[in-house]
Amino acid sequence: MRLTFLLLAALTLGSALLALSRRRLVHCALWVAVSFAALACLYLQLGAQFIGFAQVLVYVGAVAILIVFAILLTRSTEEPAAPAVIPGWLSGISIAVLTAGGLVVPILSSSLLPAPPAAPPMVTAQALGQELMTRYVLVLEVAGLLLTAALIGAVILALKESEGRP
């Protein structure tokens, strides 16, 4: 249990790091996909089946492909000439680490956090669906509305572009 977690965590973090540091954008996108898949495995290892498969379906199946499409349609996939590491990064990274630490330490030591349950509950897809359709139905509807609005917005953007053309 412990070992699988460590391996998966190392895979997730390692592929995320590679996604940040590879020179070719397409390689970055592929490493991002690996990172998504490893994250899904982490969810599965925690017993969250639905979230794990939804992660693969949405992130590996759709978001990674979307990123790839965006890269291919917008710019060249050749390696850029600029150096990968800029000296300014060092100060940037240290500031980011300090900020994250400044947020994480107080949150973890806060007394407002609910105590973690002794045994993690096994949530089936059916139970999750039931909750989504009864208790959280409003949230679900709002999320659906938001996505629909985004979809219509995308269609309208595409329409305007084609009207401008002769």
Binding site: Q49, F53, L57, V68
Partner: protein
Amino acid sequence: MANPLDQLFVLLKQWLVALLPVGLQPLLSMVLSAAAIIAVFASLFAVTTLLERKGLGRLQNRLGPNRTGPFGILQPLADGLKMLTKEDIVPEAADQVVHFLAPLVMVVPVLTAYAVLPMGRNMVAVDFDGGVLFFFAVGASTELSVFMAGWASRNKYSLLGAMRAIAQMISYEVPLVLASVTVVMTVGSLSLVRIVQSQSGYHWGWLARWHVFTPWGLAGLLLFLIAAAAECNRTPFDIPEGESEIIAGHLVEYSGFKYALFFLGEYLGMFAVSSLGISLFLGGWEAPVSFLTWIPSYVWFFGKLLGFISLFIWLRGTLPRLRTDQLMNFAWKFLLPMTLVNLVAAAGWHFSAGWSFPGALAWRWLFSAAVVGVPYLALGHALAGRVHLGPRSYRYAT
């Protein structure tokens, strides 16, 4: 129900597993299931290549392969040897690692998808809550492999073919999932074993209670089949390969066994999605009529699967290829609205299950069929537009 012939493979596996010490039994059980799936479906792939070439030959009024063995039955063997001994050429400019990984990313997830498909009574590798979701989740990585193949080859035809293939797969995945959701909604479970079980029993003592015998099930199966054909790049949706325009799409720069692996992946995908369709709408391994239940369940399953394969071969020999814009229009303007309407029809059928007045069944049928049929006609007319559908007139011929 514990008919020994029906449970032959289950009993065989239990016997083999029992030979080992207790500690190793779960491992052996898993290995046996995986080995059986890989062996059976890889052999089915070999048989299907022969069937396809023979079938297409028949449809095109020729003989098909007939030089290797009697009636050419050794053709798959010859093909396999040829593929294995062929030189594996990788373009110099290609991205070596990604080029190498693409066929593996194609085949491995497809094989894992078989884990949740029930192939007979008690014959499923893993039965878990969320099987349908798992199936679609692992299927999603196919798109990534097609992209990897297309991009890593450093060939404009490859890239073009890959983009076409991905656009098509994404577009048709939506109706495919929505067509399956009707069944999940009615049964109330994502587990394929539960879905097959829900279709057991017989209407009036003889006709199976399959979902296909309901109006929404019939419409759902047809929509599912269309989307499935597009999802595994079968004719009439094979423009990603489009030999006449872009040579072979993302497969241009592949040769030897990598090419064979892509083909294996594509055919395995076809078998997997057909099996899903069988489990969802055609009762999985159940017999269609009650007096044929003595035939073992796996025979029914693989019989139905072979039926689906023949259907796909028949379609390939009959239909011409669609154009890209026709393909996209069809997916987004026709299939997607129809699957949504079908969801409403399924919901109506589900909630009218309590009707008990005389003639309730006929009314349910009429209502559910109208919910699907009327939008179908309206949408068809609206989309056909000014297309003339009468007899054709020829300018230079009579």
